[in-house]
């Protein structure tokens, strides 16, 4: 506090001193010189700039200025050139020669730093002494100059004093005419001869001196090696013992870079905590995205922890179930089938087939084209297609088989020695060549090593390369799946997929943008391929691809650029594709499982999937018992693929769907049981998911209807209990449901229109226009221009007045001069006349 006060006081003292100084320097002005601008009204806080004016002084100043500039120009107005003295400081007489020199030097320096000469390298200003650079002088090799310096004044080549005295100041030719007079011509000749002689003498001495010095130099050079040798010897003798191990070590230690201070290493607990926090944050974001814009309720955020708990609960539950499934997993009673039939490769062939079956409908307003066609519900088109594809199948089958055997041959049996480094594959074929050699599990390690060897932190371009690697590995998985035509290769393919998946996940995490782009491209391609023949299930690679997407991306988002199209893809397949074979059933079931997986967190509703599961259950009902049973498309009402022919109640084989069902075509009884079992399980899961939906009963209404009609006695006990639990669930759903009538949100009452006072934040007596920044700047400039113009006009007017005054002054001056001259002439003329008159008078008198 005291300090602050002190400082304040010091500051105020300073100001006072300043005021005092200014007062002392200022002359007291006469009050008649001062003009005071009267204020109309006083405004607090406004600074007034021109309260006082000194008109006389300022006018005098202006006139003075004009005299210096305008008048000078006026005086030389008719001259085409002018003489300007550009010598530095020569006009100022106050400066001493030393100061002038300094000023000149400064000017030179300034010139060197001007824009034009900054780039003149090597032309640094060179100091000279008597025309020679200092560096040259410092070499001391030019003896001549040295000699000249110390020469006598009479030997400088100038005429000597005596001669000058005689010739120039000795009274000239007239004074020396007496003794030994030489003519002018002789004199000159003598002079020339003298000076020549002197010069020759000087030359001679110089040459001799030069010769001597050169000789001395060469002798010195002869001596140099001797001197050096001696010096070297002494040096080496002195230095060798000096380099000591200890010293060296000491020096090393001395100059070693010292350790820099780093952050404290985090303890494991802290790291885990950080990780946990990060995951929680991500989870929170995911839930936000899941809700989308649909359920924006302000109170939701407070319940976040409850949501989290909920998720954890699901997490545990799944784990438990997985354990169970592993127990079941042990045995499989399904006989191996290895026969290839046309159906298995149907999808591939349909992909190869380029013929597009899509109809282009050009429907004008009312030409009834949709009704004119042979079949309204496009049921029969499919039959035609099927015939076509089967025809092509036969031709292509042999090719596919050949390819398959070839690829098998390439596989070298398990080698545990995997090299540790791999080059980044530049083409897809290279990656294929690298990977195909190893077993499924090892392929994962190989891919991991490729990634490690080319990690993005190792080199600059690696990030792009990893993006490419991601694309290739997608293609690899895709090709494996599309090429697998028998059970073994399919199983192998899934195993490879399992091994590669975590690595592909890593790749995606490394380069998310690129990966996103690639997946979008891929997805688009796949969908277009499918849409060419939208009534048939596409290849198995699509299943793998969809599974891969569910791992790579969060499926729970309300809207996601990849997941949403995927869901459309899945639903379109489930809604449009015909179910005619075992493969179709298992394909559809796989898709339904995927749909469940996609919506397991967001618990959203996909009608196509429920419809499909209903159809599957409906297919298990024998049609003889119920004529009225209707199956919704894409199922045909009469289809009964899953109706059991033999009683399977005693069959106790595992009821988990097998991946090979996607390929095998032979319809077995156990498969029928399995399919129904899975459908029921999925229905139950969906039931749980849709518990909170208002019309959940209506959604499952037809499925309940079917479940009641399934002949239970034919199925094993587990399936029976599954059906019963499903039915129970439906009943419970019906009884527990509470339908709240929809109520629209009450409209907010509209407020009356009130005219509120317009409140301006700062009232400054001026009205500030509300305008854009550019316009304001422009207006400001325009205003400035106006002011400047006004000022310039005034200046010009005053210039004119000044010039006018000068002109009139000159005119008056010249007039006066002329008058005087005239008067003078008149006076002279009258004098002359008077003289003439007097002379005349004298003459007359004389004559008289």
């Amino acid at each position: 506090m005291a300090k602050a006060k002190n400082r304040k006081r010091v500051f105020s003292d300073k100001i006072q001193d300043k005021n005092k100084n200014s007062k002392t320097t200022m002359k007291p002005r006469s009050p008649f010189e001062v003009h005071i601008n009267n204020e109309k009204m006083k405004v607090l806080g406004r600074k007034i700039q021109h309260s006082k004016g000194l008109p006389g002084i300022s006018r005098a100043k202006a006139i003075d200025k004009r005299k210096k500039t305008l008048l000078k120009e006026y005086n030389v107005r008719n001259k085409s050139n002018s003489f300007t003295d550009r010598r530095i400081c020569e006009l100022n007489q106050n400066l001493s020669t030393d100061e002038k020199q300094r000023a000149r030097f400064a000017a030179v320096r300034v010139k060197a730093h001007k824009k034009k000469s900054i780039f003149n390298l090597g032309e640094d200003e060179v100091l000279t002494h008597k025309g020679q650079t200092l560096s040259e002088i410092e070499k001391f090799n030019d003896l001549q100059t040295e000699d000249e310096d110390c020469d006598d004044p009479n030997e400088t080549g100038k005429l000597d004093e005596k001669f000058v005295g005689e010739a120039h100041f000795g009274g000239g030719l007239l004074a020396k005419k007496g003794e030994g007079f030489k003519g002018h011509k002789d004199l000159i000749e003598q002079l020339i001869a003298d000076s020549k002689k002197r010069k020759a003498e000087k030359q001679k001495t110089k040459e001799s001196v030069l010769e001597l010095t050169e000789k001395l130099n060469s002798e010195w050079k002869d001596l140099i090696p001797l001197v050096k040798e001696y010096k070297n010897n002494s040096d080496s003798k002195m230095e060798k013992p000096k380099i000591d191990d200890f010293d060296r070590l000491m020096n090393e230690l001395k100059f070693e870079p010292r350790g820099t201070v780093t952050d404290r290493l985090k303890s494991e607990k802290e790291l885990a905590e950080e990780e946990k926090e990060k995951l929680e944050e991500l989870e929170r974001q995911r839930i936000e995205r899941m809700k989308g814009t649909l359920e924006e309720k302000p109170n939701k955020i407070t319940h976040r922890s409850a949501d989290d708990l909920d998720d954890d609960f699901i997490y545990e539950e799944i784990d438990n179930e997985k354990m169970l499934s592993y127990n079941e997993n042990g045995v499989s009673n399904v006989p191996l089938e290895s026969c290839l039939t046309e159906d298995k490769i149907e999808d591939e062939v349909s992909e190869m087939e380029e013929s597009s079956h899509s109809e282009v409908e050009t429907e004008s307003e009312d030409d009834l084209s949709d009704l004119k066609g042979e079949s309204s519900s496009s049921e029969d088109e499919y039959e035609l297609e099927k015939v076509k594809t089967e025809q092509t199948n036969n031709s292509n089958m042999s090719d596919v088989l050949k390819e398959n055997t070839c690829s098998k041959k390439k596989i070298i049996k398990t080698k545990d020695e995997i090299p540790y480094t791999f080059a980044m594959p530049d083409k897809y074929e290279e990656l294929y060549g690298i990977l195909i050699k190893y077993t499924a599990v090892n392929q994962g390690t190989v891919l991991e090593r490729i990634i490690q060897c080319n990690h993005s932190s190792l080199a600059k371009g690696n990030k792009d390369k990893l993006g490419l690697l991601f694309e290739y590995s997608l293609q690899y998985v895709n090709n494996l799946a599309s090429e697998s035509v028998d059970e073994q290769s399919l199983e192998n393919c899934f195993r490879i997929f399992e091994a590669l998946m975590p690595k592909i996940f890593d790749l995606a995490q490394m380069n998310p943008n690129e990966c996103h782009k690639k997946v979008v491209e891929y997805l688009k391609k796949k969908f277009d391929e499918y849409w060419e023949n939208s009534k048939q299930y596409p290849g198995i690679e699509n299943l793998l691809f969809l599974k891969l997407i569910s791992i790579l991306f969060t499926t729970s988002d309300f809207r996601h650029q990849i997941i949403t199209p995927c869901l459309i893809f899945i639903e379109q397949m489930l809604l449009n594709c015909r179910v005619t074979s075992k493969r179709d059933i298992s394909y559809g079931l796989f898709l339904s499982t995927l749909a469940l997986e996609y919506s397991s967190l967001s618990k959203r509703f996909m009608p196509g999937c429920i419809n499909y599961l209903g159809g599957i259950i409906g297919m298990a009902i024998s049609k003889s018992t119920i004529c009225a049973l209707k199956l919704f498309p894409p199922f045909k009402s009469g289809s009964s693929f899953l109706v059991l022919l033999k009683n399977q109640s005693s069959n106790t084989s595992a009821l988990k769907m097998e991946i090979t069902d996607l390929i095998k075509t032979e319809m077995t009884e156990i498969f029928k049981v399995r399919a129904l079992h899975l459908a029921l399980k999925l229905v139950k899961e969906f039931c749980d998911n849709f518990d909170s939906l208002a019309s959940n009963v209506e959604i499952f209404n037809h499925i309940q209807n079917y479940c009641e009609q399934v002949p239970k006695d034919m199925y094993p006990e587990t399936v029976q209990s599954e059906i019963n639990s499903c039915l129970q669930k439906f009943e419970k759903m019906k009884s527990m449901r509470k339908l709240k009538y929809l109520v629209m949100e009450a409209k907010k009452p509209k407020a009356l229109r009130l005219y509120e006072p317009k409140i301006v934040e700062i009232y400054d007596r001026k009205n500030f226009k509300i305008q854009s920044e550019e316009k304001a700047a422009r207006n400001k400039l325009l205003h400035k221009l106006k002011r400047e113009k006004k000022g310039a006009l005034r200046e010009i007017r005053r210039d004119n007045a000044f010039l006018g005054k000068i002109k009139i002054k000159q005119q008056i001056q010249s007039d006066l001069e002329r008058k005087q001259k005239v008067k003078k002439i008149y006076a002279e003329a009258s004098i002359q006349q008077s003289e003439l008159n007097t002379l005349d008078r004298i003459k007359k008198r004389k004559i008289k």
Binding site: K322, S325, L371, T564, E698
Partner: protein, 293 residues
């Protein structure tokens, strides 16, 4: 088609020698006669369709008493499938131009809304026609309510592109008949556990729809697709003053929806953050749970 051609050949170009003179009145008379006969024939499904197409496109304007067609059209309406839709179109023109009054037409239309329609080619036309039929504001409210409820029920199993159309359609119907707002806004204390609406009732008036509420639309707000969910959320906000234009959406297919979604540009790239174990997700893994791989 063949039948038509034969009759034409006989009447118009009977003799090659005689010069054909077109007399409109005579031709019209003959045409009427022929078509009265044609109505009486028994048709197969294919010919029936053809007859209807020709009738609607060419013959109808030239008939003297088109109201005689009513019975034929009504019979065709019972056939089902595309034939009934054609008949429906015919009946619509009859009602519009010739002042036909046929009370059962709405019942017929009601019965045409079955789950199968979503897999037919003419679903767009059906929506278009039913929009026209139900455009009158003088229809009884319980009838329109039945349509609304039935459409909503169908939307529960419909493909996404159709759900959007249905949502708009329902919105339009409610806009036309402000009395139907009770489907969206009913303030009572009762909480039933069953929907009062009877889906299996064939008579729309008896379906008790006006007592119900549009829970289906509420359910559809949880559809997997954001566009559908958005379309269904119209019930949350106050209704607009102008109807939705469904004609733009009638030709939507799964492909167009897919294209729209995939082209939707988002800057945000969202990857999942939990590393998978093998090919199984950490949460919500279902494929491995149900499939032996």
């Amino acid at each position: 088609m063949q039948i038509y051609q034969n009759t034409e050949v006989k009447l118009l170009c009977g003799n090659e020698d005689s010069i054909f003179v077109f007399d409109e009145n005579v031709t019209k008379k003959v045409l009427n006669k022929i078509w009265n006969c044609v109505m009486q024939w028994e048709h197969t499904k294919a010919t029936h369709k053809q007859v209807l197409i020709v009738l609607l496109e060419r013959i109808l304007p030239h008939l003297e008493k088109p109201l005689f067609l009513t019975d034929f059209l009504m019979d065709s309406l019972d056939v089902g499938g595309p034939v009934s839709l054609l008949a429906l179109q015919g009946i619509f023109t009859m009602i519009q131009m010739h002042n036909l009054d046929y009370p059962d037409v709405f019942k017929k239309l009601y019965s045409m809304f079955e789950p199968e329609i979503f897999h037919t080619k003419y679903k767009a036309r059906l929506f278009y026609l039913s929009d026209l039929f139900l455009s009158s504001t003088h229809l009884p409210e319980n009838l329109v309510a039945a349509f609304v409820k039935r459409l909503a029920r169908l939307a529960l199993i419909a493909p996404p592109e159709d759900i959007i159309i249905i949502c708009m359609f329902i919105g339009n119907l409610i806009l036309r008949h402000p009395g139907l707002k009770c489907l969206l806004n009913r303030v009572t204390d009762t909480i039933p556990n069953m929907d009062p609406f009877i889906m299996d009732e064939s008579d729309p008036v008896k379906s008790n729809a006006i007592e119900s509420s549009l829970w289906e639309i509420q359910t559809l707000q949880h559809h997997t697709l954001p566009t559908v969910s958005k379309a269904a959320s119209f019930i949350n906000n106050p209704l607009p003053s102008v109807e939705w234009d469904i004609t733009n959406h009638l030709n939507n297919t799964g492909e167009s929806m897919f294209d729209k979604e995939i082209k939707k540009f988002t800057k945000q790239v969202v990857l999942s953050f939990e590393k998978p174990k093998g090919m199984s997700l950490n949460r919500g893994e279902k494929v491995l749970q149900y499939w032996k791989i």
